[in-house]
């Protein structure tokens, strides 16, 4: 009773289904194959198969007669194809078994497709004057049902329902009616035509079109089709079918000639051989799958810029109403702007700044700060200041933020919009015009009575730390070195940063949107800015420094890649970035180029944007938070792009699972006796003890069986602690690089580079000498390391797609390196391991960092200072991913190669 055999059997026997499918005759197989292939062909979007092959009455001409034959094998999507296949396969199999393959080919390529089609065309076009295109194998289904019904009618003319006698030949008609009622978009007329032709065929009126048996037999004999083609059914054998023997058993029983199975059995044997070949299953297959995953991931990304995979942007939040209001910021406001500018110029060291580089050295002095405050106060705003100081990598960043609040005449101070102008732009340029514009706008906005949200004007000394200090303090999350805010407003709904770092007119607006750690603002905000600038003001917009974007594939891809690089590195790209962690959507508008737009146009754009944000009834939430922009008006959303990073992360998981299985079931080409652990040996002893009466031969038989089925015991302690230890070791460089003074960064990078060469070898020596791990344990190390890597990367992909993609791509070699088996000849092994180590070292984190620095021409020290600043101030965790995910996995990969040296 403990045996599970007491359970009832399944309602159908899978083995029988399998044998039925394996015995399908040739033409049926070809039809099924054709239908599946055409369905797969439809998945692409370049060439519309349905338009090409459908039976569309108006398209039929002399040149498109092929449609009369192609329409039955083309389908309208998966379910259409699937349902028709399920219905068609048994019918057509029966037909073929009865009439032979050659007859079936002749009939189905000829009259049985064209007659219903012709009938349909006649009625549809000339009687009904309509033009409904039809596709699908249901025409054959109903045709064959018609013939079957006639056959049934001959043996059983009626079936009775109560007192009524219903002729059996009507059954396809019922089926047709039911189908057209239940399933949408079925062609009742098409089905009726098919049934009619089926009746005619069943009644024998179409016998004329069946090729004479003599000819068929002659062809068959001449070409030896029976011998050559697998699953071929001879014309001769149809005689058995006519006497009512079930066609399937018939073909099986009578066609026992081994010849007819020859072709298929060879193919099957090859597959079976692969399936029972453990070396292929456990060693080659995972590598192939992993490689395919990586390849698919990369190709997926490359497909994204195509029109079919990306979408046009649209404003999702209706309340925004971008560009629906007239912007009045013009005319006399320009005089005010010039006045303020003059006042500020007067406070600069040498009066109005020129265009030279010394322009960018001008700091926000206390006098200027006071002047800004007095201007804002004079405009009637509430003004406050905040001092802050940050220390990172031995450098102190300090300054004083000035901010002022316009209290909403129509609001209750529960919501606010922030307008930020930093004295220095994100690129370190003097943003004099931007600050002046903010002062002018403050005065201008104050006079409007339509604001329903408070407007905060924030003027910070720089773009890196000022906003961060302010926003932290706004949410009471500031570190002790940052002053709290004396004056606050409501929840921030959106932020705009304005940069105008030169004195001449500008040509276009550059929208910067990347936040810290790759967080992005709601797409609606960017869309609003683009649509206001372009649609209302006539100012062009650019993204990701793509100044001449011609909407080509290359330009789109380049935009995506630039966006991904910024997102992946996770640094703050402007003053707006600091807002993102607090779930406040913000963007930076930068003026670029030399054109004919002046500060008034920029002011009107900002005004219109503020009016749109002012309209918001709730926080921006409608549109996407995860997207890749490839053009100001084109994007891909997370559902489309995420699979590429997931595929790359998945490649590691596949490898990890495969290695785990391999350590349990298959070790090397010939399992050594030592691979059997105490468990199985003890079991065997128990067995021998329990069954002493069994012969020795039988016992060994059992032993062998045991080897095949039971799992090899895995020894996990060493691999687990090695992998966990490596990950903990990553904390050391993380700590060092975040706390070192900036002077030592270059030295530290080179030190780590050298350590990366030495440490894996050292670990390899220590482990091989100290623990003498088994071959299985090396595989387990790799398995755990890759499992963790896949785990981290797939989690990361949901948070920061680009970082996960980049790290995943850089780590792909790790799936394919492992300890080289000591059975390979020593010189070859050493050479291979050495080459592998060199190549891996070229992909080590410090080398990649140095390579990146060399490519961009930025010194290492600057980048690492920036990174440390990001860690200390912005809460950036790119470093954590590098040192605690990438570096340990890389280290273990190198150590595995190192093991093969010792």
């Amino acid at each position: 009773m403990a045996t599970p055999a007491a359970l009832p059997p399944l309602p159908f026997n899978p083995a029988r289904v399998r044998s039925y499918l394996l015995r399908l005759p040739l033409f049926t197989r070809l039809v099924v194959l054709a239908i599946i292939i055409f369905w797969l062909l439809e998945l692409q979007t370049v060439w519309s198969v349905i338009q090409w092959g459908a039976l569309a009455p108006d398209e039929i001409g002399l040149g498109s007669m092929y449609r009369l034959n192609t329409y039955p094998i083309i389908h309208n999507g998966f379910f259409h194809a699937f349902l028709n296949l399920v219905a068609l396969t048994p019918l057509i199999e029966r037909f073929e078994a009865e009439h032979g393959t050659l007859t079936a080919v002749a009939l189905f390529l000829g009259p049985l497709s064209t007659f219903p089609a012709g009938l349909y065309l006649l009625i549809e076009k000339f009687l009904l004057h309509r033009n409904t295109a039809v596709v699908g194998a249901s025409v054959w289904v109903f045709l064959l049902l018609g013939t079957e019904a006639i056959k049934t009618f001959k043996s059983h003319p009626y079936f009775s329902l109560g007192n009524y006698k219903i002729p059996t030949w009507t059954s396809p008609l019922f089926a047709c009616v039911v189908v057209s009622i239940l399933l949408p978009n079925t062609s009742f007329l098409g089905h009726m035509c098919a049934i009619l032709v089926g009746y005619l065929f069943g009644l024998g009126y179409l016998k004329v079109f069946v090729p004479p048996e003599k000819i068929l037999r002659w062809i068959e004999g001449k070409l030896n089709l029976l011998g050559r083609l697998p699953h071929y059914i001879s014309v001769d054998q149809k005689t058995y079918g006519r006497y009512g023997v079930l066609p399937t058993t018939n073909t099986m029983g009578e066609r026992g000639t081994p010849m007819s199975y020859l072709g298929s059995s060879q193919r099957l044997a090859a597959i079976r051989k692969l399936r029972s070949n453990p070396h292929f299953l456990y060693v080659h297959l995972p590598h192939i799958l992993s490689f395919i995953c990586v390849l698919a991931g990369v190709i997926w990304l490359l497909l994204l810029p195509l029109n079919d995979y990306s979408r046009q942007t649209y404003i999702s939040e209706n309340a925004l109403l971008p560009g629906q209001v007239h912007a009045y910021f013009s005319g006399s406001e320009q005089n005010i702007f010039r006045g303020y500018r003059k006042e500020l110029d007067g406070l600069l060291p040498n009066g109005a700044p020129g265009e030279g580089s010394e322009r960018n050295d001008i700091e926000l002095t206390p006098e200027i700060s006071n002047k800004i405050q007095s201007v804002l106060r004079a405009s009637g705003l509430k003004v406050a200041t905040q001092k802050y100081e940050y220390t990172s990598a031995g450098i102190t960043h300090q300054g004083k933020n000035v901010y002022a609040i316009i209290q909403a005449p129509r609001g209750d101070a529960t919501e606010a919009i922030v307008l930020v102008t930093a004295w220095k732009t994100a690129d370190g340029e003097l943003n004099l015009n931007g600050v002046t514009l903010a002062l002018t706008l403050a005065r201008y906005f104050k006079r409007w009575s339509l604001w329903s949200k408070d407007i905060i004007f924030l003027i910070t000394p720089d773009s890196k730390s000022g906003t961060q200090a302010w926003i932290d303090a706004y949410h009471d999350m500031q570190p002790p070195s940052v002053q709290p805010l004396p004056l606050k407003s409501g929840a921030l709904q959106g932020g705009l940063v304005v940069e105008y770092p030169f004195d001449h007119r500008f040509e276009s607006l550059h929208i910067v949107y990347d936040g810290v750690n790759g967080q992005l603002p709601n797409l609606d905000l960017i869309n609003t800015a683009v649509s206001i600038a372009g649609g209302q003001m006539g100012i062009g917009t650019n993204l990701q420094e793509m100044w001449d974007h011609n909407d080509s594939y290359e330009a789109r891809l380049q935009t995506i890649l630039r966006g991904m690089a910024k997102q992946g590195l996770g640094y703050a790209t402007g003053a707006h970035s600091s807002f993102m962690p607090y779930h406040i959507d913000a963007i930076t508008l930068q003026t670029k180029g030399d054109g004919w737009q002046d500060e008034m146009a920029l002011g009107r754009t900002v005004e219109s944007l503020c009016r749109s944000l002012n309209n918001l009834l709730e926080h921006l939430h409608q549109s996407f938070f995860f997207y890749l922009l490839m053009q100001t008006n084109r994007f891909v959303s997370i559902g489309t792009y995420l699979p590429s990073a997931m595929l790359i992360a998945g490649n590691f998981t596949i490898m990890a699972i495969a290695l785990w299985l391999r350590t349990g079931y298959y070790m090397g080409s010939k399992p050594k006796p030592s691979a059997n652990t105490g468990v199985s040996r003890n079991e065997k002893q128990d067995q021998l003890a329990n069954s002493p009466d069994k012969g020795k031969a039988k016992a060994t038989d059992v032993e062998q069986k045991n080897d095949a089925n039971s799992i090899i015991e895995r020894q996990l302690a060493l691999p687990l602690s090695f992998v966990v230890g490596q990950h903990l070791l990553g904390l050391v460089p993380l700590f060092v690089f975040n706390n070192l003074s900036h002077k030592y960064f270059t030295t530290a990078t080179y030190t780590v580079m050298v350590a990366d060469v030495v440490l894996p070898l050292l670990l390899a020596v220590l482990l091989t000498q100290g623990f003498t791990p088994k071959p299985q344990q090396y595989l387990l190390m790799k398995s755990f390391s890759l499992l963790l890597l896949g785990l981290f990367l797939s989690t990361l992909a949901t948070l920061n797609f680009s970082l996960s993609f980049m790290i995943g791509l850089l780590c792909t070699p790790l799936s394919f390196v492992s300890r080289i088996s000591p059975t390979t000849s020593a010189p070859f092994r050493y050479a291979l391991a050495f080459v592998g180590l060199v190549l891996l070292n070229l992909l080590s984190p410090p080398v990649i960092l140095l390579g990146g620095c060399w490519y961009t021409g930025v010194p290492v020290e600057t980048i690492l200072t920036q990174a440390a600043f990001g860690w200390d101030v912005w809460g950036m965790w790119t470093q954590v991913v590098v040192w605690c995910v990438w570096w340990p996995a890389w280290m273990i990969g190198c150590a595995l190669l190192g093991f093969s040296l010792f």
């Binding site: 055999a5 359970l7 926080h619 128990d686 329990n690 069954s691 059992v702 045991n706 949901t798």
Partner: protein, 424 residues
């Protein structure tokens, strides 16, 4: 365990040092963990305990304000400890000691060998086992245990009650076992469901001894009486502490039974009851509780020979289907699982289950972040991950139960040992 061997001392010292080290290196870690929904549930949260404590020390009923839902006996204990906000070290030390005590109970359970061979059943591969210290190390260095300890969840006291009930039961002290179980049930109701298998364990243990006890029925009635008396005693003391009996009952047990607080947690109830129409709420409450209780009978009958395994599996089931589960429940299940080292060779989906749990462990906080902080995800993100977590635990459970059944089956059919058998 009077004789303390050196390995055990090393493991205990290491575990204690690791906890204190984490506290010293990352002073904000305990508060972070206390706020995590995976660690703290409304019935075990340390924050809520502190709220109750605040009211209690000011002579206000701790249940006023509707925040505190834990047993009142905890209050005088914690009132003795200095304020955790100003002096976090004593509280952390206290919790670490509780962990060590739990580990000690685990060692007793493991060393008794009851997991491998009991009165009615003896596993085939019982020689494959880990010793008590390894199992204690497995428990003490489990990240979930450490997180629970640092998050100062009060569910560790329930864990202590359950583990001591087990350790007393396997050592033959059925009276103490019942008292411990009474303590655990008093703290959080669900351990009461363990009464039947625990009683059977005590009975088997007694029957293994020199004199055969009287019939099971009398034994059961006696022990039920002890169990109920212990609970009644604890309730009496609580009443003495709190004063208002009905308020205390409705705020603690009523709260646990009726599940009014639907704060997200790793379990399956909160999302379901958020979506539920109010008129069906009572019905489904009944169904959910019935579902949880239904496993007791089935498992106890089917695995009559292995009551300790029944308790282990039930603890796993509770970790999935309890109203307010946390990772602490999972850590209790993971603590008892290594006792069944001899079943591991028969298990089939360990890697898959462990991978699912690891994925859920990482993705859970990530999705919670996307939902609550970044605002770019929604509740379904986190709920999907709690489903994966429950799936991982369920697979592990089903796999161990399969392994136990297979073990029994091989016992009955020695000729099938090690051979592949297929269920049809």
């Amino acid at each position: 365990m009077l004789v303390v061997d050196r390995r055990q001392a090393a493991v205990f010292a290491g575990a204690l040092a690791l906890r204190l080290l984490l506290l010293v290196l990352f002073p904000s870690l305990p508060d972070l963990l206390t706020g995590r929904v995976e660690v703290s549930t409304p019935i075990s949260s340390f924050k809520r305990l502190q709220e109750g404590l605040f009211l209690y020390t000011r002579n206000v009923s701790p249940y006023d304000g509707g925040v505190f839902h834990q047993a009142p006996l905890l209050l005088p204990v914690f009132a003795l400890l200095p304020n955790a906000r100003e002096f976090p070290l004593p509280t952390a030390l206290f919790y670490s000691l509780i962990d060590l005590i739990n580990a000690n109970a685990l060692i007793t359970i493991s060393d008794s060998g009851q997991a491998g061979s009991g009165r009615l059943f003896s596993a085939l591969r019982k020689h494959i086992r880990w010793d008590g210290v390894s199992i204690a190390a497995w428990f003490l260095f489990n990240p979930f245990t450490i997180a629970t300890c640092l998050g100062r969840s009060t569910s560790v006291f329930t864990t202590t009650g359950i583990l001591y009930a087990l350790s007393n039961a396997v050592s033959g002290n059925s009276l103490n076992a019942m008292l411990s179980l009474g303590f655990a049930s008093y703290l959080s109701i669900y351990p009461a469901l363990l009464f039947i298998p625990l009683m059977l364990l005590c009975y088997d243990r007694r029957a293994q001894g020199s004199r055969l006890p009287a019939g099971v029925a009398i034994f059961a009635v006696q022990h039920l009486a002890i169990f109920l008396l212990s609970i009644a005693g604890l309730l009496g003391i609580s009443c003495f502490i709190v004063g208002d009996f009905s308020q205390f009952i409705s705020a603690t047990y009523g709260f646990q039974l009726l599940v009014p607080d639907l704060t997200p947690n790793v379990g399956l109830w909160w999302y379901f009851f958020i979506e539920m129409f109010d008129s069906f709420r009572e019905f489904f409450l009944g169904v959910f509780w019935l579902h949880l209780a239904a496993y007791v009978g089935g498992l106890t009958v089917r695995l009559r020979g292995q009551p300790l395994f029944v308790i282990t599996s039930l603890l796993g089931i509770f970790a999935v289907f309890k109203p307010y589960p946390s990772i602490s429940d999972a850590s209790l299940y993971f603590a008892l699982l290594p006792l069944y080292r001899h079943l591991f060779p028969l298990m089939r989906y360990t890697f898959f289950a462990v991978s699912a749990l690891l994925y859920a462990t990482l993705l859970g906080p990530a999705f919670y972040h996307l939902w609550i902080y970044a605002g770019s995800g929604n509740a379904n993100f986190f709920y999907a991950i709690t489903l994966v977590w429950s799936l991982g635990l369920s697979i592990l459970l089903a796999d161990t139960i399969f392994a136990a059944l297979r073990d029994e089956w091989e016992q009955e059919n020695p000729e099938m040992r090690g051979k592949e058998a297929r269920q049809i």
